[in-house]
Symmetry: C5
């Protein structure tokens, strides 16, 4: 799993039907690289989260048939810029 | 998931039978690196899309037996060069 | 599998329910990059461990439905900074 | 999927039995990095191919129990050095 | 699959039970980066091998429940430093 920070929501009206109305967030890592993650926990911009990738991302969604390769697994309680970018 | 831009179609007459007549697109990321993605949503050159990798790419195709490791998940409504290459 | 070193515990009160009360550790590799790993073996900060990724991470957890993409597989008996950062 | 070029055959007499007599090719990408791919389509040295990775590589082989993480998916009809290394 | 060279055995007394008494080897790639691979073929230090990653690594082990993300698939018959580091 990786530690990332939520940047903004991703708006995509036209998407594969199996992703339906799932919440997608733009997340960034310590180097500023952005990715898109499914969010089943309700994270907000600025939150530090840990994200789950590969097949485990599907298992972290509510059903493993949901086609996600990156899912937010939880919001980190104590984290800071200093721990993230040593 | 990653944010990529559609560049062109990929023409391959001689391919594994399980990929049959599926549409394949050449996509590029913010650094200009190219990959090939299966397209179930009908994206066009220049569209910003989000792409789904690993086993989720198969689930994003219409049937999970389709051998794709990268599938276009949707077309992004609001995106720009500035958000992509900060 | 990769060789990593345990740095600290990760505290996340608000997480996906399928990860429940599993122990998560912050681990670092030889270049100092950090990741988060599920720990079924009880490793402690400073231990050199080998970590298992992709779908095998789920199989290394006690049940393959647990959504982890990185699981500590064991504590290495003989390892040192010199072998790690040659 | 990635675009790679076939370099040569890989000769391995002593291998896991599940790979039996499958054809393995050394392939290179645009930066010259080499990998090994299973070839179910009969590509030849010099051919530009697209390759399929992760679990989809197994589905692209004739049976998904075949342990391949990279399988040639097809031979590209129109491709050149200029498109590959822009 | 990747081409790697066996460096040494990895000794881990305390490991997840599903890996039991499996042989683990430290392997390096052409750039000197080390990883750990399960070895079902009996490779020795100095051997050039090809390694299988992602879910295929589990299928290359004797049983797909074995939690390995990298498994030695075979020993390469003809290979040299020159082919490896061009």
């Amino acid at each position: 799993m990786n530690i990332q920070r939520v940047v903004r929501d991703l708006v995509t009206t036209h998407r594969v039907t199996t992703l339906a109305h799932k919440s997608l967030r733009v997340v960034e890592d310590a180097s500023g690289t952005i990715e898109v993650a499914l969010d089943p926990v309700g994270a907000r911009p600025g939150d530090f989260v840990f994200t789950i990738s590969t097949s485990a991302a599907r298992f972290a969604a509510t059903q493993p048939e949901i086609p996600t390769d990156l899912t937010i697994g939880g919001i980190i309680d104590y984290w800071s810029e200093e721990l993230w970018r040593p």
